[in-house]
């Protein structure tokens, strides 16, 4: 594993210190790191452990329990397909299958070029416009299977630009 830069170590320590007055800050620290870096690899967990005194085993346990925390980096564009009930009964499975087929990855995986990550989400609360997907925070309403290739192209273009 590549050595962490000094700046990254400093930043992670800062995040830990930000919550020093909290009784049980681990979730907040991990959320911040996930948000800032997109993933929480083992060497980062070791730094958090040293700073907070929480064992690496415990931190690893928490990181792997919650689906928002990731051990590996995510793609530039994270495609979250909602598979909540309302979306599911309106055909969300076919939509995620289409993304899977075109990108050549399963849900939870990232394409080799690092461009796309495909995630299955459990209800994003947009049930009225189901089936819905979310790409880097932007929600797409009523996604038809036939619209999937166009959406992927849109982001491929954006990556090139």
């Amino acid at each position: 594993m590549a050595q962490l830069s000094e700046a990254a170590v400093k930043r992670i320590n800062e995040i830990c210190d930000k919550y020093a007055s909290e009784k049980t800050p681990l979730m907040m620290i991990l959320s911040d790191i996930q948000k800032e870096y997109g993933y929480i690899p083992l060497d980062v967990q070791e730094i958090v452990s040293e700073r907070t005194g929480i064992s690496v085993a415990e931190i690893y346990g928490v990181v792997t329990f919650y689906s928002f925390f990731s051990l590996k980096p995510k793609g530039k564009f994270v495609i979250g397909c909602c598979l909540g009930t309302a979306c599911y009964v309106k055909g969300a499975q076919q939509v995620i299958d289409k993304f899977s087929e075109i990108l050549g990855i399963h849900p939870g995986e990232t394409t080799e070029d690092g461009l796309f990550t495909l995630d299955a989400l459990r209800c994003i609360g947009a049930c009225a416009i189901s089936p819905a997907i979310k790409i880097n925070g932007k929600v797409y309403p009523k996604v038809a299977v036939s619209a999937v290739p166009g959406i992927i192209e849109e982001y491929k273009k954006e990556a090139k630009a």
């Binding site: 329990f65 919650y66 009930t85 309302a86 309106k90 076919q94 009225a128 309403p141």
Partner: protein, 627 residues
Amino acid sequence: MIKNFEELQNKCKECSACLDAKFAGADGKRHILICGGTGCLSTNSAAIREEFERLIKEKGLSDKVEINQVGCFGMCSQGPFVKIFPEETLYRMLKVSDVDEILESDIKGGKVVERLLYVDPVTKEKIRKQDDIPFYKKQVHIALHAVGSIDPENLEEALARGAFQGLARALKMERQDVINEVLNSGLRGRGGGGFPTGRKWQFAFAQPEGEKYVVCNGDEGDPGAFMDEAILEGNPLAVIEGMMIAGYAIGAKNGYFYVRAEYPVAVARLLNAIKMAEDAGLLGDNILGSNFSFRCHLRLGAGAFVCGEETALLNSIQGQRGMPRPRPPFPAVKGLWDCPTIVNNVETLACVPYILREGFGEFAKYGTERSKGTKVFALAGKVNNVGLVEVPMGTTLRELIYDIGGGIPNGKKFKAIQTGGPSGGCLTAEDLDAAIDYDNLVAKGSMMGSGGAIVMDEDNCMVDVAKFYMDFICDESCGKCSPCRIGTKRMLEMLTKITDGTATLEDLDKLNALAENIKADSLCALGQTAPNPILSTLSHFKDEYMAHILDKKCPAHVCKNLMQYKIDKEKCIGCGLCAKNCPADAIHKTDYTAPGHKLPSMEIDPSKCVKCGACMSGCKFGAISKE
């Protein structure tokens, strides 16, 4: 700063008069409210708002019209909405390109833009005012009070609609009397189980004085339910006030919100509301000059359904894996950091200010004997009016689905309504006239849950639906106890066999027996209720299970292994579009040309077909069907 009761009363009166005058157009201006709920934001309401702001400036209308963002209007499938005061004209399904016409025609010319009005799906009549739309007529807003009519980021508008009046009354009462008020209201937990809220408070109150906590459960995980999101987005101060009243009653000084990270808009509005209340002195030390001090904190979930279970939620706040704790001890005795804690759902807390402000009788006058007040349902799935609906307990399913929901789209037949999410079950056409309350739903093999209500029509396969929920539960089981961790996985495998067409009747017996075991032996409610979707669909739709197992057919044509696409060679005109759309090269020309057509018809090779449905959705002649 609002320092005492008198200042609060004066401020509320002043704000109320101000807001009423604004809606009445007393300032000589028209006021446009635009929906800023998650549903409408994702169908572009933010861009529409910007366009309004830009064009109002450009057209020099700033002294004639003002635009305000409010919370969810409820009928999300018709969004984005704007409502124009004082006429209360409601425009729906807006696009950025409609803004200019609204300003030119309605704001400048005083002429309603007919094409943007709501059209009743049954009578085809255009309806101008929100209150005249059948969707809203039967609703009573208590938990959704002021959601969709005030700016959630403006303290004064909330005060105008009675914010902190409930707290003000509570602070003048004895703590036990506050609990009695909630007990007498009959309020039961809106998050799932329906435990009487006042009794929870009483337990925590009875614990020795010391550090105690109020926790608001905003980890709305039930897929298909989004009422807590809408309340937090539309009137966050009501939930904060409910939490404060609970805190005063049990003797807590700190409250924790635990909200799903999937709800960024709700989180931002809640944080803003906490800050507004702090700045006004309504949160902090010696609130309204009393001895009561209270602070609110926020914790985010990280994508674990089980954290909606109250003890798992507490572990998550404590920075641990979100695994449930054995009970007893209950959280009211030993909860957050081992201190007495009450965990109440968002909707429950949103009802509390109303009960204290209006008195328990005003709440208890709605509902059935054992379920008082109202309940918010997230009506979704195969129903015309998808959205949030708050109705008195005891409303029938027929009223909910047909009168409010506007019936099933595309002339399809109603099959079932699923309530209670992955812990609940289905109700069928037989139950349409059943009154919805906690006990009735349980008696009929389902449950209230958090209020998700997913309507299914004839195109939904009930075995597939059961499999969907089991897949969900398998993913979300925390792994602590073996009945849930191992058992749900085995149940999913059995269901997969059924939908693949490889199951035998013996598998069905095993599934039934295992379901009963898991129900009896799991540690927490997630596992105990996990078999419900299976047991419920088995009891109502056994024929569908049998068709999968014995006839190897899926009656709704959903399960891929048990269905195929077919081209009607008489209807097919031979255009070849299906063959072009087919990703598997499974469609070819035959040598048969139907009478009246010029080209030979097409046919599907079942051995190559991947059953994606691209052929059928592209066919303009209705020649392709499933069987």
